[in-house]
Amino acid sequence: MIPEQFFILATLLFSIGLVGVVSRRNLFIVYLSIELMLSSVNLLLVTFSRLDQSMNGTVMALLLIAIIAAEAAIFLAVIIQLYRSKRSLDSDKFSQLTQNKGQL
């Protein structure tokens, strides 16, 4: 078991999360992808914590989990609110804020 394995895994997770955010229209999945990105950082932090044997990384990971939770709260509230307004979680349907054609 070498750190590189964890590094690769964290990088992979972060990338997958990023891909998910960009490519999915389902807002819930977007939310999950962001969680995944944050969690991958968690993995990294824990790995570092294990590497340097101090608890700092663990504490940071803990704080990060709290942050994830806070974001989750807001995110879920937003999802509820959005679903109420349009009966859908399709992010493409929320595109009224645009000026279809630029003009001078």
Binding site: L18, V30, F94, S95, G102
Partner: protein, 628 residues
């Protein structure tokens, strides 16, 4: 000699006063006042001029009077004073300008009676007098140029005096613009002259003293450019087309400006720069050729005109050609002499024509006149004398002056010029007598009701008739037993003539014979009938329409210029330059619109842009850190 400045300033002052009075209430009739002021001013000038001439006569030939009014400008080495100078050449000009000018003013006070612009007319007229005197009295070229331009301006104002008629204004414009073309050459010449003599002073005397410092090519350029100015002012080929049109002005204007004074300014100027033209004989020859051609052309056209004033106008042009033959060939005093005599008889002719026009209620076509001899005897007799004078019948004035010019041409071996001059002399007699016979002797088609003429119109005619008859006696050449008083008085640097007296006799006789021949031809053709004798042929059309020169100018110069203007406006300005800018703006806006269309409101696209950005940053970071 503060009097010198008075000569110039009084007409200007009077013009200003008249203008202000007129503008104060344009509609109020104040003819007496206007006439008094308007005629008095040139009369005072004339009196002062006589005093000065008397003084000059009493002193020796090189005497020059100077008076500096004030320094006009002084910057760097360009120091010009508003100064006046009177030498003998000036005196001659001064004499006939003020004298004949006063007479014409007097005449005009009668001629313009009842015109709503009476005050305005005299204001302009006095303005013209002032400008002309400024031109003549100037002691340096720049002041002369100012007078030169102002003369043109007042001529413009007077030609378009009846400005309600569009055609009159057009004529005025034409006159001014063609004059300005001449002035363009003139001022360039003057400036080149100044640059060449920078620092040596810029009065005529200083220039004359230092003329040797200029190299010959430059001098040639200057000479040509100055002559271009003369061409414009004196209606020489190719700038002559304005003169006939200028007849749109009131007849006194034609008499004063376009016959007696302004048009001869070119001749005066060349004579003033005689020291320069003596150094450039080639240019002199060129001037003479232009003069001869103009003389001939004017005479030919004059022979076919119907309008009495147009005939006189072309005649003027033709006579001006003579003068340029003289000054071009270095016979400056002969040229000036012809200017002098021509002023008398041409003014007289115009005033007579004006009298007829007034008498016949503004009828100008000679074929609608006829048999006026008895109705207007006091016009007929002066006109007859003037016609004799212009045709070169001895002993009237024109004979001596014209003869002198032709003899000069012959003796300097310019035979072509001489031949042209001689033919012109024949034609002159023909068309002048044609005019006289048709107007006064030929049977009239209808019965004219003749308007009575004011005395103020008749008296000047008579005075001028006397002048026309006798002025030539001042310049009887040696060959005819005289001593050419005139030439010795003006004391210009004439080129010496080498010619036998016998030759002179032959030439004179030939001239007189030709003049008589012309007279006879006119008599035969016109004394009994009042219509054009020739058939309608192409050639006649060409001549009657003045060789279509106006049209050619319009087609080749005016039209293209207007087209160019439109082209520049609509194409270069409107399309090219505007479009370059608009295209820049448009393409930027287009980019903006394209870019803004990425802003499509969908969040995953925005995330995608962020991803692109991150990807870009990562790539460049990777490269920076030396690749993976």
């Amino acid at each position: 000699m503060i009097l010198l400045s008075f000569i110039v300033l009084i007409p200007f002052l009077s013009a200003l006063i008249l203008g202000v009075i007129y503008l104060y209430d344009p509609n109020k009739p104040r003819e007496k006042l206007y006439a008094t002021i308007g005629v008095t001013a040139p009369a005072i000038s004339a009196t002062i001029a006589l005093v000065i001439e008397a003084k000059l006569l009493s002193m020796d030939a090189s005497t020059v009077f100077h008076y500096t009014l004030f320094e006009w400008i002084h910057i760097g080495k360009f120091q010009i004073e508003l100064a006046f100078m009177a030498d003998r050449l000036t005196a001659v000009m001064l004499f006939f300008i003020t004298f004949i000018g006063t007479l014409i003013h007097l005449y005009a006070s009668g001629y313009m009676k009842g015109d709503s612009g009476y005050g305005k007319f005299f204001s302009y007229f006095n303005l013209f007098m002032g400008s002309m005197l400024l031109l003549v009295l100037a002691d340096n070229p720049i002041i002369m140029f100012i007078g030169w331009e102002l003369v043109g301006l007042s001529s413009y104002l007077l030609i378009s005096f009846y400005h309600q008629e569009y055609a009159n204004v057009t004529a005025g414009n034409k006159a001014f613009i063609l004059n300005r073309i001449g002035d363009f050459g003139f001022i360039i010449g003057l400036v080149v002259l100044f640059i060449s003599l920078e620092g040596y002073g810029y009065t005529f005397e200083a220039i004359e003293a230092n003329i040797g410092l200029i190299d010959h090519p430059t001098l040639t350029i200057i000479a040509i450019l100055l002559f271009v100015g003369a061409m414009g002012k004196s209606a020489q080929i190719p700038l002559f087309v304005w003169l006939p049109d200028a007849m749109a002005g009131p007849t006194p204007v034609s008499a004063l400006i376009h016959a007696a004074t302004m048009v001869t300014a070119g001749v005066y100027m060349v004579a003033r720069f005689s020291f320069l033209y003596n150094d450039t004989p080639d240019i002199g020859e060129f001037i003479a050729i232009i003069g001869a051609s103009t003389a001939l052309l004017g005479a030919i056209i004059a022979s076919f005109q119907n309008d009495i004033k147009k005939i006189l106008a072309y005649s003027t042009m033709s006579q001006l050609g003579y003068m340029f033959i003289a000054v071009g060939l270095g016979a400056y005093s002969s040229g000036i002499f012809h200017v002098f005599t021509h002023a008398f008889f041409k003014a007289l002719l115009f005033m007579g024509a004006g009298a007829i026009i007034i008498a016949l209620h503004h009828e100008q076509n000679i074929y609608k006149m006829g048999s006026l001899k008895n109705k207007l005897p006091w016009v007929f007799i002066p006109m007859l004398i003037a016609t004799l004078a212009i045709s070169g019948i001895p002993p009237f004035a024109g004979f001596f002056s014209k003869d002198a010019i032709l003899i000069t041409a012959y003796s300097s071996e310019h035979y072509t010029i001489w031949a042209m001059g001689t033919i012109t002399a024949f034609l002159t007699a023909y068309y002048m007598f044609r005019l006289l016979f048709v107007v006064f002797l030929a049977p009239s088609i209808r019965d004219h009701k003749v308007e009575p003429l004011a005395n103020s119109m008749i008296v000047p005619l008579i005075i001028l008739a006397v002048g026309s008859a006798t002025a030539g006696l001042l310049g009887i050449p040696e060959a005819l037993g005289g001593s050419n008083l005139f030439a010795s008085f003006v004391a210009l640097p004439d080129k010496p003539l080498h010619i036998l007296h016998s030759t002179e006799y032959y030439l004179s006789a030939l001239n007189v014979a030709l003049a008589l021949l012309g007279t006879a031809l006119a008599y035969k053709l016109f004394v009994r009938r009042i219509h054009e004798p020739l058939n309608n042929s192409v050639w006649r059309y060409v001549v009657v329409n003045k060789f279509y020169i106006d049209e050619i100018y319009t087609f080749f110069i005016v039209k293209p210029l207007l087209l160019l203007s439109k082209f520049l406006l609509y194409f270069v300005d409107g399309k090219i330059i505007n479009n370059i800018i608009n295209l820049t703006v448009y393409s930027y806006a287009r980019m903006g619109i394209t870019f803004a269309s990425f802003q499509n409101g969908k969040v995953r696209y925005y995330a995608f842009y962020i991803l692109v950005g991150v990807s870009f940053i990562s790539t460049s970071m990777l490269i920076l850190l030396g690749g993976f």
